[in-house]
């Protein structure tokens, strides 16, 4: 599982060759859920002066359960999206369980992302500090759209997207460049497009 950080191509090559196993994606996803519970906030802090205050009253347990549900749904959605891209855009067939394994393994990078983000917040003293281009903007609320776009260009987001592209290439047998077009197109370009065009 930890080889995903150094040689994702080899890991995914083995995944594609071997039969599907539940633990391949369930274990990393569970680990991500455990890490996510550390970031759960029962109350949401107030925003800038002109924004209305939003206070949530659910307990820590329900909030953690909420996060875990979101992570599992996200994993399933990501696997489905990869399968769709492979089926209709790349015209190849592979099992959706394989794409679930790819997603599960790629999400282990989220654990590293969470650790780095926590350290960055502690060192900078700013709870909104992220290892993204948005760190160069002083005020989050003066340019909200620009901030959101730069925030999406997170180093770990790009890393995870690249790993997903490599995984899709290994599963589908198509070149990495083509897979990267679709994976980056959805996970980055569409995301930025939603911010700009919605």
């Amino acid at each position: 599982m930890f080889n995903i950080f150094v040689s994702p191509g080899e890991v995914f090559g083995e995944i594609a060759a071997q039969p599907s196993r539940l633990a391949t994606w369930l274990v990393p996803t569970t680990l991500v859920c455990l890490v996510a519970t550390a970031y759960v906030h029962p109350e949401v802090s107030s925003h800038a002066d002109n924004s209305p205050q939003n206070i949530s009253s659910h307990s820590h347990f329900i909030a953690a359960l909420d996060s875990c549900l979101g992570i599992f749904l996200g994993t399933l959605w990501c696997a489905f999206a990869l399968w769709l891209i492979g089926r209709f855009c790349l015209k190849t067939r592979f099992s959706i369980l394989k794409s679930l394994e790819i997603t599960g393994l790629a999400s282990t990078i989220l654990i590293l992302s969470a650790i780095v983000t926590g350290l960055l917040s502690t060192v900078s003293g700013d709870g909104h500090a992220r290892p993204a281009l948005s760190i160069f903007l002083n005020n989050k609320y003066s340019h909200p759209v620009a901030y959101a776009i730069l925030d999406a260009l997170n180093v770990f987001n790009i890393w995870i997207t690249t790993v997903l592209a490599i995984g899709l290439a290994k599963l589908s047998g198509v070149s990495v460049k083509e897979c990267a077009f679709w994976v980056f197109g959805y996970w980055l370009v569409v995301r930025v497009g939603l911010i700009l065009l919605a």
Binding site: A36, D66, L90, L110, A114, T117, A198
Partner: protein
């Protein structure tokens, strides 16, 4: 550019123009050409309207440019190579021409198209442009650039393997989709992406490329779902309800498909029987026969009565009459038409009577005119009845060659063929008039007028439609087209209305000249006489056509 190729292109262009001019002799082509010319004329006529300036706004021009550019690229890429005429392949590919010369030869027609298109652009939009000549030249050059891009992408697409080509096509479409929504959003403020998507916990859609630190502070799924279900936004509620309806019907469709696929019955034997039956029915319609196959043992043979009236053409009339008696379905259909039509007209008269009984005062003369109008309207029943009573050349079209051996003239034959449907039309119309006369008071002059007018109308309608049936039957006998074209049927329908124009014109002219009630009868009689004359001419034309097409058949 090779002079030989230029000369070849110019010669082919001239030939094509002459071919187009020659094809204008066909009615369908001519009508289409006139329609295009009319549209262009109207566009040019109203070129000063403010609407045209909206078409050349910056946003519109950018959209058109994007469409031309992206369309050219995709079309060329889809083509996967340049298409030539087969003769060009033999001549050009084996000739001493370089690849560049051949590509340039391929571009020449498109250059001409760009110039002509620029000319039309200049003619229509000149009044709304600050620099019309410059804009037109730029438009032509842009069009030429698009053609170059199309050719280049076609050549490039041809070098790719099939699988890669298909994948790149999808990539292009995805990029075009992004360009489209960006253009719509920036130029026209049209939001394809609904705003509620930004309120989604977007972490889920883009997992795992998310930040876990943000997931803890984003709105929970439950909050989002409950907000979506209980929203005050009409758009969100409508989307919610629409999604539920769609999901319900989609589940119904899919489950019914699943049940269908679970059926274990053998389809081949039963389908063979049905297919044969449908094919025979289609053949019968094509031959102009009845779609109902009669059982030969169902009817007893009727011998020809020993009446001198039923000799010669009378025998054909008797034959058609017997066929009519045995065609219960057609007679029932005609009766149904008559009942519905008559009930409608009687209903109008009843409504008028009710108005009068409730105190409405209507002059006697106006009431008589109203009744006359209703009776005239009854004449339109002939249009429906004629189509429902196929005891003419529709059924007998396959016996045209046999009719030639009969010892009767063409005029007698045609008259015999259309006699039975005319008589039946008049019979059904008489039922309608009888029903109407029970409630409306018809004077004897009016009844006499109807008695003279209805046969003229029925004769005209049957004559025009039998013209069409006779032409179709002779085509089938000569082994040519099986069914008539839509243009032909349209022309016959138009003719079945225009056939009454001479009589109508006569009545209106006499009525305008002699503006007196006494001469109303004169106008009516004159119109009826003109109509009978037209009908007589029509029957003669039918007879001549019958003779002439028989001769053509022998000459083949």
């Amino acid at each position: 550019m090779n002079p030989a190729l230029t000369y070849l292109w110019f010669t082919l262009l001239k030939r094509r123009v002459f071919q187009i001019c020659r094809s204008l002799r066909r009615p369908g082509t001519f009508i289409g050409f006139c329609a295009v010319l009319f549209l262009a004329g109207m566009a040019f006529r109203f070129r000063h309207e403010p609407f045209y300036s909206e078409l050349i706004r910056r946003e519109s021009l950018i959209g058109c440019a994007l469409l031309m550019l992206c369309g050219s690229l995709f079309k060329g890429f889809l083509q996967r190579g340049l298409s030539f005429e087969l003769a060009d392949v033999d001549f050009l590919f084996t000739g001493a021409f370089t690849q560049h010369q051949i590509v340039f030869y391929r571009l020449l027609p498109q250059y001409l198209f760009a110039v002509v298109q620029g000319f039309f652009f200049f003619a229509i939009f000149k009044a709304h442009l600050a620099h019309p000549i410059l804009v037109t030249i730029c438009f032509i050059l842009f069009q030429i650039a698009c053609f170059h891009i199309a050719i280049a992408s076609a050549i490039f697409g041809g070098t790719l393997v099939e699988a890669l080509h298909r994948r790149i096509c999808w990539m292009l479409l995805a990029v075009y989709f992004l360009i489209t929504i960006t253009y719509l959003r920036t130029a026209w403020e049209i939001r394809i992406i609904p705003s509620f998507i930004t309120s989604l916990p977007s972490q889920i859609l883009f997992y795992p490329a998310i930040s876990l630190a943000d997931s803890g502070s984003s709105p929970s799924l439950r909050q989002w779902l409950s907000g979506f279900a209980n929203t005050n936004s009409i758009a969100a509620q409508q989307l919610w309800h629409s999604s539920l309806w769609f999901a319900a019907f989609a589940v119904g469709a899919l489950s019914s498909l699943w049940l269908l696929m679970k059926l274990k019955a053998d389809i081949f034997e039963t389908s063979l029987t049905v297919t044969t039956r449908v094919a025979e029915r289609r053949q019968r319609i094509r031959r102009g026969q009845s779609i109902i196959e009669l059982n030969e043992n169902e009817f007893q043979s009727l011998s020809l009565p020993a009446s001198p009236w039923l000799r010669g053409m009378g025998a054909i009339v008797w034959k058609n009459f017997v066929v009519a008696l045995r065609s219960r379905r057609e007679l029932a259909l005609a009766l149904a038409f008559t009942i519905i039509f008559t009930l409608f007209i009687v209903g109008l008269r009843v409504a008028m009577r009710r108005i009068m009984s409730e105190g409405g005062i209507i002059a006697t003369r106006d009431l008589a005119d109203f009744d006359m109008g209703l009776a005239s309207f009854m004449g339109f029943l002939g249009f429906l009845l004629q189509r429902a009573l196929p005891f003419d050349f529709r059924r007998d079209g396959q016996h045209l060659l046999g009719f030639r051996t009969l010892p009767i003239s063409s005029f007698q034959l045609v008259a015999a063929e259309i006699a039975v449907p005319i008589v039946l039309c008049l019979a059904f119309q008489a039922l309608g008039v009888l029903a109407l006369s029970c409630i409306a008071g018809f004077q004897w002059p009016m009844l006499l007028c109807l008695a003279l007018a209805y046969p003229a109308i029925a004769l005209a309608l049957n004559g025009v439609w039998n013209l069409h049936y006779l032409l179709s039957a002779t085509k089938r006998a000569a082994g040519r087209a099986q069914s008539s074209s839509a243009i032909g049927v349209l022309m016959i329908v138009a003719l079945s209305f225009f056939i009454f124009y001479p009589a109508g014109w006569t009545a209106v002219t006499i009525g305008n000249h002699l503006k007196s009630d006494q001469f109303f009868a004169l106008a009516a009689v004159a119109a009826i006489a003109v109509q009978y004359a037209v009908d007589f001419l029509l029957v003669i034309i039918l007879a001549k056509l019958f003779e002439r097409f028989e001769v053509s058949r022998d000459a083949q």
